[in-house]
Amino acid sequence: MTALTMPEGEAPILEVKDLATHFFTRAGVVKAVDGVSFSLNRGEIIGLVGESGSGKTVTGFSLIGLVDPPGRIVGGSVKLEGQELVGLDDAGLRKVRGARIAMVFQDPMMTLNPVLTIGQQMHLALAAHERVSKGAARVRSAEALTRVGIPDAASRLDAYPHQFSGGMRQRVAIAIALLHGTRVIIADEPTTALDVSIQAQILSEMRELAREMGTALVWISHDLSTVSTLASRILVMYAGRIVEEGPTAQVLRAPRHPYTAGLLRSLPAMAEPGTDLAQIPGTTPSLLNLPEGCPFRPRCERASELCAKNPPMTRAGERGYRCHHALEEAVSA
């Protein structure tokens, strides 16, 4: 069905279908990701939004095969330019990771090796997938650093990660992800640890990069407003499932799922200063014992007996939502 909605002549670069990742813990099976499907076109940026425990990070990890035991991908498929990644062995994954699909993490201090210079690390990243001379590696590394807005890149190659600020380190991590002309970058809360002014710089640079190089981005974040400035499409996750998806502006202007609506209403930016914020009652459920049926049911004001049955994804044009009692299509603008 997804194939039909694609623009003609261009196959999606990444196609995820019914992806399910479960963690087999002593306390029980945690269904961290439970049937996630979406597709991503060349140069497209999609925002994967959710609160902690919604499964957005595990989704990102599953896409590039970084799920460690007790977690396991138990079903579904991830196709990168037609190649199936689920079930690929370590050697196969290593060929793909870093070369065609890469990940940028929240904390760049954890991604970068503190005892190697930036240049050495970038050389290693290049050498992992192709034969390069030291000189050629330096030239390409400097180019990549310049692309992400690091001034005086050639001389910065000899610096160590601790000599960079948080924002610069995150830029280095992005530059490494871009080294091989990566098709897809999965970015997991990449600006959450940064200051607002630095975040703004990186956001606008990322959008430029996606436009110029055709790199597609999966931007994982808890922050709706960051995603809204960046992503053309938004996927809202709750308890391991996508509960709502669609073009960013449409979803944010007129959400169909009560959870998305509640999330938006609870933002201070949406309320008159000083007045009480609308709040979603309760807390996110434990993934160990999810309520029967729709997982949002206990917190939902629109819930009825019907919600004891899990709602399927209802699609209408570019929008989709999982709710028996979806909100009206358009509230007056």
Binding site: S197, R253, L267
Partner: protein
């Protein structure tokens, strides 16, 4: 003019680096050892009226937490004074007043994992004789309820609670000391959006019902706008602009405030709004070596020569509104 409820008068805080062994020996022998202190807070003067909420905003390293800690009586200013209700908050290196309490960012770090919730809340009031052993349980129950928690939680341990609930426990603990002033250092930064709304509402309720004076420190401009009456924007240890919340947000005069407000991603944007998205250039300089003149001049789009040589003072621009910029009109 009578003194404001909280009066912060020309406060400085410098942190000097620890000397290495070699440097210490050399300096004992009479040689001069170059040390550059970090000027975390660099001459701040502020007043807060009783029952008002002051939002302290700035990026990391701007000194907002250090200033908050001086108001809370946790650290002592290098020079200058912080007075609450006419009395200094610190005397002889110790906090002199229990009517100021603090709520920290990380409720996982600020609650002792080995203590029961009831003991966590009662410890302070008991030590300061606000309650005796016989009244302890009902006292604790009252404050748990006030923070929106079930009184039966008193027998549980912190690990049994989620982040939002822990932050409520931290709030209950602070309230149990019957404070007049609450210093909140990024109290909602580590919480999920839906939980953040619950805690923000709790602060609004406390302010309404208990007429508490709040110092609300945050990097999140939209939360600060929501809870504060007044806002002070800090940059590299100094206040660059302060004034009534709506004035600051609708009519910012300092280029840094303007840039900061423009850097906040908007929830609803027109299709190509990012084209007009003008982030502040460059990075925050090291507080070890702040630039001469106006600290913001290397990043400022409108800086002139004067800004590189002369430090702008905070100038009044309107009712309660000041900015430290040579060019602000």
């Amino acid at each position: 003019m009578s003194e404001a409820f909280i009066s912060i008068d020309d406060v400085y805080k410098r942190f000097s680096p620890r000397l290495s062994m070699a440097d210490r020996i050399v300096s004992k022998l009479g040689a001069r050892v170059e040390t550059r202190p970090v000027r975390a807070v660099d001459g701040v003067t502020l007043n807060v009226e009783r029952g008002q909420t002051l939002g302290l905003v700035g990026e990391s390293g701007c000194g907002k937490s250090t200033l908050g800690r001086m108001i809370a009586g946790i650290i002592e200013p290098t020079s200058g004074s912080v007075r609450i209700d006419g009395k200094p908050v610190m005397e002889g290196g110790r906090k002199a007043d229990t009517r100021i309490q603090t709520i920290f960012q990380d409720p996982f770090a600020s609650l002792d994992p080995r203590m029961r919730i009831g003991d966590i809340i009662a410890e302070g009031p008991f030590a300061h004789r606000l309650v005796d052993k016989s009244g302890e349980r009902s006292y604790v129950a009252g404050y748990l309820e006030r923070a929106g928690l079930d009184p039966s939680f008193a027998d549980r341990f912190p690990h049994q609670f989620s982040g939002g609930q822990r932050q409520r426990i931290a709030i209950a603990r602070a309230l149990a000391m019957q404070p007049d002033v609450l210093v909140c250092d990024e109290p909602v930064a580590s919480l999920d959006v839906s939980i953040q709304a619950q805690i923000v509402n709790l602060f609004l309720k406390l302010r309404r019902e208990m007429s508490i004076t709040l110092i609300f420190i945050s990097h999140d401009l939209s939360v600060v706008r929501h809870v504060s009456d007044h806002v002070a924007i800090m940059y590299l240890g100094r206040i660059v602009e302060s004034g009534p919340t709506e004035t600051i947000y609708t009519d910012p005069r300092h280029p840094y405030t303007k840039g900061l407000l423009e850097s906040v991603p908007k929830l609803l944007v027109e299709d190509d709004a990012l084209v007009h998205f003008k982030p502040i250039m460059g990075e925050i300089p090291s507080p070890l070596a702040p630039p001469a003149g106006c600290h913001f001049n290397p990043r400022c789009p409108i800086a002139i020569d004067l800004c590189r040589s002369e430090d702008p003072a905070l100038r009044p621009l309107g009712p309660g509104h000041c900015a430290a910029c040579h060019l602000a009109q």
